[in-house]
Symmetry: C2
Subunit: 429 residues, 2 copies
Amino acid sequence: MGIRIREVDAGFSLESILQRAKQDLNDTLSLVRPILEEVRTRGDEAVRDFTLKFDKLEPSSFYHPVPDWKGTADPELVAALEKAKENISIFHKAQMPSDLDVQVSGNSLGIRYTPIESVTVYAPGGKALYPSTILMGVIPAKIAGVKHIQIVTPPQKEGIPDGLFAAAKIAGADAIVTAGGAQGIAAASYGTKSIPRSEFVIGPGNKFVTAAKILLSGQGVIGIDSPAGPSEVLVIADDSANPNWVAADLLSQAEHGEDSAAILCTDSMGFAKKVAAEIDLALKERPKRADIKKASIENESWILVFPNLDSCVDFSNLYAPEHLEIQTKNYKELFRKIKHAGSVFLGPYSPVAMGDYISGTNHILPTAGGSRIFSSLGVMTFLKRVTYQEVTRDSLEKLYPYVKVLSEFEGLDEEHGNSVKVRLPKREV
Amino acid sequence: MGIRIREVDAGFSLESILQRAKQDLNDTLSLVRPILEEVRTRGDEAVRDFTLKFDKLEPSSFYHPVPDWKGTADPELVAALEKAKENISIFHKAQMPSDLDVQVSGNSLGIRYTPIESVTVYAPGGKALYPSTILMGVIPAKIAGVKHIQIVTPPQKEGIPDGLFAAAKIAGADAIVTAGGAQGIAAASYGTKSIPRSEFVIGPGNKFVTAAKILLSGQGVIGIDSPAGPSEVLVIADDSANPNWVAADLLSQAEHGEDSAAILCTDSMGFAKKVAAEIDLALKERPKRADIKKASIENESWILVFPNLDSCVDFSNLYAPEHLEIQTKNYKELFRKIKHAGSVFLGPYSPVAMGDYISGTNHILPTAGGSRIFSSLGVMTFLKRVTYQEVTRDSLEKLYPYVKVLSEFEGLDEEHGNSVKVRLPKREV
């Protein structure tokens, strides 16, 4: 049993593939609510209690300023993180928006972009602790001008790994906070004696982290990024693509987790079969994380054979993949028809792993179809628009009649209308 | 009893003014959850049941295409709405972002902006039905390129007012959906037989509307705008300002609702007293909505006298007002120090009412300090960033060593690393 191949015809419903598993958080929300309340009222003490309960650890402190780090990391790792930082920085600095100033009806109207002041980047612990994700979360915030950036992550028995500190330092984070799960999110959102409050909390986590973020943002305590689900790739390829490379890309997605989805859309059954054969071969030849890769490939992944490439694009726009690869002869032309995707990888030499690590694009992306309405993480995630206007006396007078009509219609003429009228030059009666 | 005046000194805590009342939605969330579930499973039938229960009405249909409207509206109102549309359109068209393409390490990286496809603008009913808010919600979505825009609003005994239809038509909305409260939001979010699903839902509403939006966005069903609370203005003024005009602006805010807050920050006790006297006088001379205005002025509003204007700015940045007026001699200089505000009104001739109706800026703004992390509504609200990269073979080879190190450190070398390595030219061993 390998990856499923299916010719897409009238008899085959794509609905179940489009409807990716949504986490049911109802039970988790009930579990998390009291944790948030405890941390809000009892602060560090509650964080300590929950850390002992859930992590079986008693850290002597939670807040670790990055500049205080005295360790060393592997020079090769540092060099790679530095190179990644360089590319991420170039791409994200180019995203800095210009302020806007425009004349409308004789008045100056405009937009000034200002940064959020404090941000928490949540980083899962254990095997899922990825230095690359630290760079992706922290560097755009730093470029946007966020004043205080802390990484919140579960404590580990051996202390904070040097690789994490190195990534935090290179990215420019201010501190690492060793408090995980809902209690970590709550501490960073409410603030405690030892942990500063952040106004905005980003980054993926387990369902307790997600539930805490949803509850706290729903209550207006923090802002959050778009919800994160299992990772996924959709590859559009025709028979000009290399089946071995496409198979490698699908498996690279499968490597993430049992719930990862890898979807190939193609117009060629012959190509589909070649890719499936390459996957079978690779699963035998590269046995690391075999159970994870097999589960993802066999249960979550598909090769879909469409009548033509335009149908592949139509499906992709409905699926709105986190990662989209286009490996076709006419990949530039197809890309122009793409409406919804997190990060797009164009042509034969752009595997997703390049964006995961080094190309410079961000790898924190909307999943589960979220790219139909949400953006990938970027500098704009940490900026907001302050709009302004300076109205002239002349324009005030010319526009007053419209304000009068509108405010009367809405029953707000006595004060709204008056606040304009009172400024107008008195006329002789 | 009028507005409270307070000299801000070491003995006075501003905390209670900063901490605006947050709606406690816990009970409402429990009430709303089954309504959402009913609408999800029973569709139109459930909407009909809840409309009968809550609105005491039995509409024959919910979905009213705007082009089908055969009524007429007051020509003066139409002219005012057209003028407002003109100014809103100029300012919001200027916000359309340019796509980005940048070379990084020899590769093409970029961003393409694409619109959300379907949007619901919720509009409260009854007295709070504001045609101006229809323009503010719909026009930016239209400019962004949203394909289907519907206005969802509670049904009214007399049917849909012509003023609402006129605003919807001028703004460019596709339809008016007469279903209010949680059932209206649920119908627009899940879709029913007669009501199309929207992927993004914006606009203010009562606590049932807010709770429904929070629950549905938490479950990943829809995206929503930032949560809306009571409206508020903060005015920074020195004694160069006209106390009569400043009083008019504070009262214009008070006119919105009993829970509206109007805050004047000044460096002059003399000016403070003049404004307070003008407010007292106005409350006598302009008796319309007197109870509402008095409640807002006496219970929610303040005149705060700071030692200097810079302290006023510092407080304003903490308060992060929805509306900010700066009426001082040096208003341009002070504005440069403003970090957080929804919409800013500069100089003596820029009362908030100008932005509410006609200047061209948006009046759907973050409240309750939300402007510390959220933006005013704009074209960007309805656009998202699709990032992309096209990697060259040469760059792939040069960057591979970094991918190797990083993927090995993260335990993802077998597939992530391999997907890059497999593309490299074979070397002789």
